[in-house]
Amino acid sequence: MHLDYSVITANWRFLADGVGITVLLALASGAASLIAGFVLALLRLRGPRWLRPAIVFYIDSMRSIPVLVVLVWTFFALPIVAGVTMSPFTAGLIGLTVHLAAYAAEIVRAGIESVRPGQTRAALALGMSHPQILRRVVLPQALVRMLPAFGSLLSVTIKDTAIASVIAVPELMRRAETVAGQSFQPIEVYTFAMLVYFVLLYPVTRGVDRFYRRVAHLGRS
């Protein structure tokens, strides 16, 4: 088996731009789903009663449909329904956010529920209002406890951006396919892509673990 890695250097810029788009898409959809997750979880826990079943239904639906299906539907079917055209990147961003927000909402809910109700009652007895309790008693502890789960969600987000290649978002996976197809050297190109993804993902997983070990004591009660 003869391997020739010059195909990587020859397409260096093209692939590096792909890495940039992968990172951008991961950060954008990660941030958007984080915000949406907080809103959803707070609405589920504190919002009007009639809204709760709808949120639970949405979350459970996203847990049962593959992200590939969500992405493909957003890119090909949503424009027909909504009558708008979207770039692959926008569709990828929307699809990933819609999917990941459900997971983020579950993380936020678990974090908030992990703070014992006795603390809320004690704060009420001290005369705090509900928003005050959330901000000053519950969230400071809950946020720390959510950290490891958000770390793995970020790594899932980076991995899921690769699936956006099926709707032609020009990120690393898509560009690797293009280069592999043009050069007829799939082994070199895909092995290189593996290396890049590993280098992107490993520090995220490890870094979050490390950071959490330093701050874990802040979440104890």
């Binding site: 459970d60 049962s64 690769a162 082994i187 490993y202």
Partner: protein, 219 residues
């Protein structure tokens, strides 16, 4: 916009076959990844140093790669490495198994580590051998604890089988997208695909919730 939903009914046989392949892939992958996961976890915990490093490297590598890339990689590299002309289905199965084995290994390792050391020490003090302590004290408790995690891995796997559609394995996602391309009924077929996945996945997700409540650890 005129919609023609009859296309879904017209292609019901193909969709049913795709659904069957999706389930076949899920079951076969789990059947491979459960024993392999136990072996890899065992190597990581009790193996000789080089084996331990190898097992750790394998788990870390596959947990940090997008599955879709592993699928492509397997499609192009496995035939060259093994010298076999593997079918798309076999290649997809191999890629999924490599991925899920890594996750299962980590699950089993965490489960075994979660049993307090004192229990093994007590078993040793009672005169059990290490193997006996592992088989009769640690594993029965560890397996019960990992069940909820394995259940949610199952649902993830069920969804992830859709990714082998990129190498033309004729499972549900691939079949739906093929019909879409042949009939141009884009909205109908893609919605049907989402609904079928939802109908199959929703009960499984609910079952996982139930298992998680039923087997919740309280010490």
């Amino acid at each position: 916009m005129t919609l023609d939903w009859s296309v879904v009914w017209q292609y019901r046989a193909a969709l049913a076959e795709g659904t069957a392949t999706t389930f076949l892939l899920t079951i076969a992958t789990m059947a491979i990844a459960l024993p392999c996961g136990i072996v890899v976890a065992g190597l990581r915990l009790y193996g000789a140093a080089p084996l331990r490093a190898l097992a750790t490297g394998y788990v870390e590598l596959f947990r940090n790669l997008p599955l879709i890339l592993v699928v492509y990689w397997a499609f192009y590299v496995l035939p060259i490495l093994t010298g076999l002309g593997l079918s798309a289905l076999a290649t997809g199965l191999a890629a999924l198994s490599l991925n899920v084995t890594a996750y299962n290994a980590e699950t089993f390792r965490a489960g075994i580590n979660s049993i307090r050391r004192g229990q093994v020490e007590a078993a040793l003090a009672l005169g059990m051998t290490r193997t006996q302590a592992l088989r009769r004290i640690v594993l029965p408790q560890a397996l019960r604890r990992v069940l909820p995690v394995l259940a949610s891995t199952w649902v993830s796997l069920f969804k992830d089988t859709s990714l082998v559609s990129v190498i033309a394995v004729t499972e549900l996602a691939y079949v739906s997208m093929q019909v879409r391309a042949q009939t141009f009924r884009v909205l109908e077929m893609l919605t049907a695909m989402a609904v079928i996945y939802w109908l199959l996945g929703y009960p499984q997700a609910k079952l996982v919730d139930w298992i998680q409540r039923r087997y919740a650890v309280s010490e």
